[in-house]
């Protein structure tokens, strides 16, 4: 049976369809579900192996990006999500989903009681930016990036993607646990300055996982690079190649098959 993927949407989610499509294309069976249905009946979560929180502007990103949806998870679904994670299932948050995960208490570790230790805040540029970035994939326990190439190319599209930590010890902990999955790099693989680090993230961090590697959050959009025609320079490099993002979804599906 195909692994079942729950793409959880809320008012203002907007990358739900392409995220579901990416999982379907990778061999999963994705279902879109509004968060109100899960709040009414949290047991619905048990029917799925993968929980994906897609990009968008949940509740307008008013107050701060992802905050209202994060609180819905944190104050109303914590027990069910903890169980979901402990059962060895996978959780991914992309862009707005990443913002939700860190504010809900699902990253950098699954702990709904702890005070938030990392966040995603306003880009240094002061504006929304849609551009493609190079990412280095570090060695990590992350299930989603297993055996992926060392460098990938995904677009970012956000105004609040600057990764920051509460204090230096949080960063050290992330490194110690090999939780820094994605880092922005320049086209040569070196340290990224703007625009290669598009938002001013500390340590060029673009995505992190929890210590188990089963929860991943990232600002760039892998689901926007799953077809060769997605690449912004495909008319130069041709279509006879695999799109970088597809492997990430295949890894998640392969984990259950």
């Amino acid at each position: 049976m195909k692994p079942r993927v729950l793409v959880l949407r809320a008012a203002g989610s907007n990358c739900d369809l392409e995220t579901a499509f990416a999982f379907d294309q990778a061999g999963g069976a994705a279902v879109l579900l509004h968060i109100n249905r899960v709040l009414e009946n949290p047991a619905l979560l048990t029917e799925y192996q993968i929980l994906a929180i897609p990009g968008g502007f949940t509740y307008g990103d008013d107050i701060s990006a992802g905050k209202v949806m994060a609180n819905q998870l944190r104050f109303h679904l914590a027990d069910h999500l903890r169980a979901f994670h402990q059962q060895g299932k996978l959780i991914i948050g992309i862009c707005n989903g990443f913002q939700v995960l860190v504010k809900a208490g699902l990253l950098p570790v699954v702990d709904f009681a702890a005070e938030q230790s990392v966040t995603l805040t306003n880009n240094d540029s002061g504006k929304y930016d849609d551009r493609w970035v190079y990412l280095r994939i570090n060695e990590s326990p992350c299930v989603f990036t297993r055996a992926m190439k060392e460098r990938v190319y995904f677009p970012v599209a956000h105004a609040e993607g600057k990764f920051v930590v509460r204090d230096e010890s949080v960063l050290q902990e992330l490194w110690r646990n090999r939780q820094v999955v994605f880092q922005y790099v320049n086209p040569d693989g070196g340290v990224a300055a703007y625009p290669w680090n598009p938002n001013g993230s500390m340590a060029d961090i673009a995505g992190i996982c929890d210590p188990t590697g089963r929860v991943l959050g990232l600002m760039p959009h892998p689901e926007r690079n799953i077809d060769p025609t997605h690449h912004p320079a495909w008319t130069r490099i041709g279509l006879n190649r695999e799109a970088d993002g597809a492997a990430l979804f295949s890894n998640a599906i392969a984990y259950f098959t």
Partner: protein, 954 residues
């Protein structure tokens, strides 16, 4: 009890908003400020315990990693005290999105005692500021008085509003004389002319009663230029004959005569519909939102894009919005403050506000903004243009509405407020120096998340067959929506059932309010409960407000009192015909040739840096152009994705390579010479952009959007008549049907001295084409050193309105013309070559002519060019190299071809004028030699690119 919670960034984090204000203050010439701090403030009304306040601050409002919070007192200032602390908030009645979300977040925390919320921003300025500086900063940077104000100490923030005591207002009309009729029209902002007022008077005399206010308002809405397009569908006397319905004689006629099988629904529904594939059609609509954007750029553009999204959503049984386009015309952004007329916002502020408005709405809706253009001219100073477009995807079996008696009328989405009263009628008047104050009711701020929820739920309701008809509430509000949709049946509406944002609206205001994010659906009785449950399940408000009837009347009730009753026949067909006068006189222009310079490199730099030519990357990257996963050719292309794409290519379905191409053409500079050739050029430009990315002329459809001065003035209308004739002449030959359009005819600005400044005659042509396989798309960046470069199409001496003449201060009356027959042959031949895979890159020649096209192709591909003009096909009147290089003749493209495909390419273009220009080189240089072989241009690509990029790099 009111709780105040303030949030500020911790010192470790940089505040980009504060930085923006600091640099804005310096732009205003205020030098005394050295630092700014910004605080977000929430006011909550309701009884809260101390613990609850702390919980709201810590768990909801503050991001504790980056922010500090203060409850009921400002955050302490650690260093020197600010020289000025000022707080600004929204005016009463203006949508406060963040406050609404905060209320939801507070309820989610289990705290139910907060009834209302309001947000504000507090700014601290450090340094030295005079009272004048403060006033300047407040007015020019911190607020737009149309929607915001500086808070006063002790200001009342929350109001309990009472419903007005119901009183039916009857307007004594039957006995009014001419003067009284016209005063009534003026004082009630009806914008009805004398003949129309008399027609209404006659109608009510025959009914032997006077109209109520709501009846008169509904007639004014329905008959407004905005809703009825009475000028272009009326009678016009031009060149000695009276033309009935000029629109039908030109624009519609193209489509009718062509009668193409893939045109599904044209000029009928809210958007034009064409065939996409076996399962889907696509529809496209472009609207303008000019006057609101002039007054409140952010809100105006915001609701402009929000409004046009609801057009495809209200087409057929509802199309899913898949692509946005935006085209703007502004005054010069480098205008000196001292030259700014009173009552006008600075063009830079207008542009920043408009871009932010489109960005925030489009991005939040999850719709890619893939195509657009920006044009600058002095005459848009008081009257900028904001065109917003949306493409929707519509299942083929859901393209038709049915309206039957007995269905429930349900309003879905946003609540109704006093916002936007008289938008439809107001857009039919001129802007003037007092506009800011007088029309504030017409300006709104949108709520994209309400609209996103609306789209999400309507798509589900549509697929389950819950409703039979749908339309948007746009100009004229419920009045226009229900009046139009129930035209063939009749309807009764119970106005007190309409959900309101706040108390205090009269029955008349409820009916004509243009509050955003509302749709109307007609639901058969058996589906009402299911439909309401579906909307409620995703927190979308839906309310039954009336029902369709079978007596062809619209009947309005307020708490069981009949407040209005009109015959549909009079409402829709009772408008009297007025003959409008049109004259056209060709302007007399002095012919002055520019001095012929031996080195044209500096001229090329100047043209590349011209605002109308330069890179718009600053704007483009603020729009999400890739959401929905179908972006194939993006607005920026090339080796480092900074090159200007000719058109966008988008896959509406992720499981198919069939695609939609969008492009546009806009040439106001030619319009000042001759609107006929302006229109012809705009069509040609839109079409050749489609061709440039690999589209086919045979699957291209057009949209027309005229923005003109006041057509009550015969000279303005005369130009428009010529432009419409050109639309017919060129589009018929191209065989490209018009499928939708809209006009905006009162774009004038009255200055303090009483002069009326009209915008340049502006026609936006939008093109949409269906592409069989997007993997055949071609981009404009040079691909490989050693490839050959050709120019296709004939160059004529047509420098009138050109950028070359502009930078050289020369003048000519020879605007580019279009030889439509030859152009069609060229486009068909070139498309065949492209489909055969013979073309590596392709770029159209437009602003700045051949020279700019070559430079853009080169720096976008990171490859050089060595070319000679000797073989460029040209007419006999082209004798000078500079004319050959910079003339803006239409129907020309530059094409890159691999050497091994040269023969096949040349064979494909047999009988088409084309010539070899030269070669793509590895050396990053643009080298252009003239007809006689002398060097005209030699420059590094990096320098050319930087000229092109620097102008709008904000």
């Amino acid at each position: 009890m009111i709780t105040r919670i303030e949030l500020g960034l911790s010192a470790d984090f940089q505040d980009s908003e504060a930085k923006g204000i600091l640099s804005g203050a310096r732009d205003l010439g205020v030098t005394g400020v050295n630092r700014v701090k910004v605080y977000q403030v929430y006011y909550l009304s309701g009884d809260l315990q101390k613990e609850e306040k702390t919980r709201i601050a810590k768990s909801l409002l503050a991001d504790l990693v980056t922010q500090q919070y203060g409850i009921d007192q400002p955050l302490p200032c650690k260093e020197e005290p600010p020289c000025w602390s000022v707080e600004v908030t929204f005016n009463r009645g203006v949508t406060d999105l963040v406050a609404e979300t905060a209320l939801k977040g507070i309820r989610d925390l289990g705290i139910t005692s907060v009834q209302e919320a309001k947000t504000a921003k507090r700014f601290e300025f450090f340094g030295v500021l005079s009272a004048g500086d403060k006033e300047l900063i407040a007015q020019k940077l911190l607020i737009n008085k149309v929607v915001q104000h500086v808070m006063q100490p002790g200001e009342k923030l929350f109001f309990t509003m009472e419903d007005p005591v119901f009183q039916l207002i009857v307007i004594p009309l039957r006995d009014a004389d001419e003067e009284q009729l016209m005063r009534l029209s003026r004082e009630r902002d009806l914008f009805l002319n004398s003949a129309e007022m008399h027609a209404i008077q006659d109608h009510f005399r025959s009914l032997q009663r006077d109209p109520t206010d709501i009846e008169l308002e509904m007639i004014a809405q329905t008959w407004s230029e905005h809703c009825s397009h009475k000028t272009l569908t009326g009678l016009v006397e031009f060149e000695g004959r009276v033309i009935r319905n000029p629109l039908k004689q030109t624009i519609f006629r193209v489509t009718r005569e062509l009668d193409l099988p893939w045109c599904v629904s044209v000029f009928k529904d809210n958007a034009g519909v064409i065939r996409f594939d076996d399962d889907y059609n696509v529809c496209f609509k472009v609207e303008t939102h000019n006057h609101p954007s002039a007054m409140e750029p952010y809100g105006g553009a915001n609701t402009g894009i929000g409004g046009v999204i609801r057009d495809p959503l209200g087409t057929g049984l509802g199309a899913k919005p898949i692509i946005n386009t935006d085209i703007f015309c502004f005054g010069p952004v480098d205008l000196a403050m001292k030259d700014l007329p009173k009552g006008v916002l600075h063009p830079k502020r207008v542009m920043q506000g408009v871009v932010a408005g489109v960005r925030d709405y489009g991005n939040r809706m999850g719709i890619p903004t893939s195509n657009g253009a920006i044009f600058f001219d002095d005459r848009y100073l008081g009257n900028p243009l904001v065109y917003c477009g949306n493409v929707g995807l519509l299942p083929r079996n859901l393209c038709e509405k049915t309206v039957a008696p007995g269905d429930a009328i349900i309003v879905v989405g946003g609540r109704t407020g006093r916002d936007g009263i008289h938008g439809a009628t107001a857009s039919s008047g001129e802007l003037h120096t007092e506009s800011e104050g007088t029309w504030s009711g017409a300006v709104q701020i949108g709520n994209p998340i309400v609209e996103k929820k609306l789209v999400d739920t309507l798509m589900q309701a549509r697929d389950r067959g819950y409703y039979r008809a749908i339309t948007d509430c746009g100009a004229g509000g419920l009045s226009s929506a229900i009046g139009e949709l129930a035209k063939t049946t009749g309807a009764e509406v119970f106005l007190e059932k309409v959900p309101l944002k706040y108390h205090g609206l009269s029955y008349m205001e409820i009916w004509i309010s243009e509050a955003q994010e509302r749709m109307v659906i007609f639901v058969p009785p058996e589906h009402v409960d299911d439909a309401l449950a579906l909307f409620a399940g995703e927190d979308v408000e839906a309310t039954v407000i009336g029902r369709t009837t079978d007596d062809h009347k619209i009947r309005l009730f307020y708490h069981s009192a009949l407040v209005g009753e009109l015959d549909m026949a009079f409402l829709h067909d009772g408008m009297p015909e007025v003959v409008r006068q049109a004259v056209y006189e060709k302007p007399v222009l002095v012919e002055t040739e520019p001095e012929l310079l031996s080195d044209l490199t500096p001229v090329l730099h100047k043209i590349l840096a011209a605002p109308n030519v330069c890179s718009k990357e600053w704007v483009i990257r603020q729009y999400d152009h890739e959401v929905q996963g179908g972006s194939v050719v993006k607005p920026l292309v090339g080796v480092d994705q900074q090159g200007p794409s000719d058109a966008s290519v988008t896959r509406p379905r992720m499981d198919s390579y069939k695609a939609v191409i969008l492009a546009n053409g806009l040439n106001p500079k030619y319009g000042l010479i001759d609107p006929y050739w302006m229109a012809a050029s705009s069509i040609d430009e839109a079409v050749r952009n489609v061709i440039a990315v690999g589209g086919s002329l045979e699957r291209t459809a057009l949209l027309d959007n005229f923005c003109w001065g006041s057509t009550d003035k015969p000279d303005r209308l005369g130009g428009l008549m010529r432009a419409m004739q050109a639309c017919y002449d060129v589009a018929s030959v191209f065989r490209t049907p018009f499928i939708s359009g809209k006009d905006s005819l009162n774009n004038e600005y009255k200055t303090e001295s009483g002069d009326s400044i009209a915008i340049p005659p502006t026609l936006l042509i939008s093109a949409i084409a269906v592409m069989e396989d997007c993997r055949q798309a071609v981009t404009m960046d040079l691909k490989k050193a050693g490839n050959l470069l050709y120019v296709v199409g004939l160059t004529r001496a047509e420098c009138g309105g050109s950028h070359y003449y502009e930078v050289m201060n020369a003048s000519s009356s020879k605007a580019p013309q279009v030889d439509a027959e030859s152009a069609r042959r060229l486009y068909l031949a070139l498309h065949a070559a492209m489909t055969a895979g013979l073309v590596a890159s392709c770029h159209d020649c437009s602003e700045g002519g051949l020279a700019v096209a070559l430079a853009e192709m080169a720096f976008s591909g990171g490859l050089g060019l060595s070319v000679s003009l000797a073989s460029v096909p040209r007419t006999a009147d082209v004798v000078r190299d500079d004319v050959l290089l910079f003339s803006e003749s239409n129907s020309r493209l530059v094409v890159e071809v691999q050497p091994d495909k040269e023969a096949a390419f040349c064979a494909a273009l047999q009988a088409i004028p084309f010539g070899l220009l030269g070669q793509v080189t590895a050396a990053p240089q643009l080298v252009i030699d003239g007809i006689q072989g002398e060097r005209l241009i030699e420059e590094n690509l990096a320098n050319l690119k930087s000229s092109w990029q620097n102008t709008l790099r904000w």
